[in-house]
Symmetry: C2
DNA sequence: CAGAGTTAGTTGAACTCTCACTTGTTGAGA
DNA sequence: TCTCAACAAGTGAGAGTTCAACTAACTCTG
């Protein structure tokens, strides 16, 4: 631990620029969605996932995985979306522990209403700025990072995403 | 508004990959800092900015700008850091509206204690995964985006960052 | 210099997210 | 079959962020 691999000048500047770019960009995305559709980006993504699946229905845990959310977050989010009438919860037939989240017609309509503004924001903030070569490079880099981080994430996943029972056993 | 410039297949996949990569990466950064140092990444950045400036002191609004935070966020964050004894607030001489935020010795020590783990996480999550060419490309892309988004952000800045008085005047 | 408008910073409410804990269910092995 | 670890999901407290409203100080301009 004593010999930290510090960042050199180039890495330092790359890191800061990357951080600044992503903050500026995602803050803008978040604000656009919030203001025009009253929806956090995370909620929008949940709706997208549901809309893309046959039956517009997914188990809570699958929804959590595909939206890169914790189960707890999905519970809270779906509860909120259910209040809005955009998602409906149903019991799971074969596993009584399970719950199914289904996108309602209202939810689909809401998503379709929100989509144009959101897509426009993504285009303006990202693709309008980058050359085709940069877009290709960005995709390559992102794919590399996703592969890298899916295997061994920067930091062990939250206790919430299961495994805490094991940890308890091991530790106590 | 009716002719949305939808994303084509390549853009769609680039966008999703980019989103996934940044989420995975920054979630990891956040978790590492929180667990090892009990600090949100935003707070860490505040400490870094203060540590880099002569006198380890910055006006609240300058701090807000360089940390890409709203004034309100900075107010809350500095209040929290002050409670911890890591930052001290002082009055500003020449502008009685102003407040100066100063990094204390404890704050500097805390930052120095947090740094190695954080830097290691950045390296493991980002630079260990990418080739030198990819790092160069990432820097180029990020610089491009920062320049683009600083000029015309995806979405108008929050009311908090001033200008709402003007808006009120124009609208009313 | 008076008043209008602007700027610096704070505050509180509302909301989301995380973490740790709890409930109820499933399934494998003694 | 009984038992207990593993799993699915929900819950509530605590923390951070945002937004709008507010106070106070500054600065123009007539």
């Amino acid at each position: 631990m004593s010999d930290t691999r510090w960042l050199d000048e180039n890495e330092q500047q790359t890191w800061r620029s990357f951080m600044t770019a992503t903050r500026l960009f995602f803050d803008g995305i978040e604000r656009q969605l919030q203001q025009e559709s009253g929806l956090p980006h995370a909620y929008y993504e949940i709706l997208v996932r549901l809309s893309e699946v046959p039956g517009r229905t997914l188990r809570m845990s699958e929804l959590a995985e595909t939206s890169l959310s914790s189960r707890s977050r999905i519970s809270h989010s779906v509860a909120r979306l259910e209040e809005m009438g955009w998602v409906r919860r149903r019991r799971c037939e074969h596993d009584k522990r399970g719950q199914l989240a289904e996108l309602t017609d209202e939810g689909l309509a809401g998503l379709q209403a929100a989509a144009p503004g959101h897509v426009e924001a993504v285009r303006r903030g990202l693709f309008d700025a980058l050359s085709p070569e940069q877009v290709a490079a960005l995709r390559d880099i992102s794919d590399t990072l996703v592969a890298h981080l899916s295997d061994k994430p920067v930091w062990p996943a939250a206790a919430d995403r299961s495994g805490e029972a094991t940890a308890r056993k091991v530790n106590g």
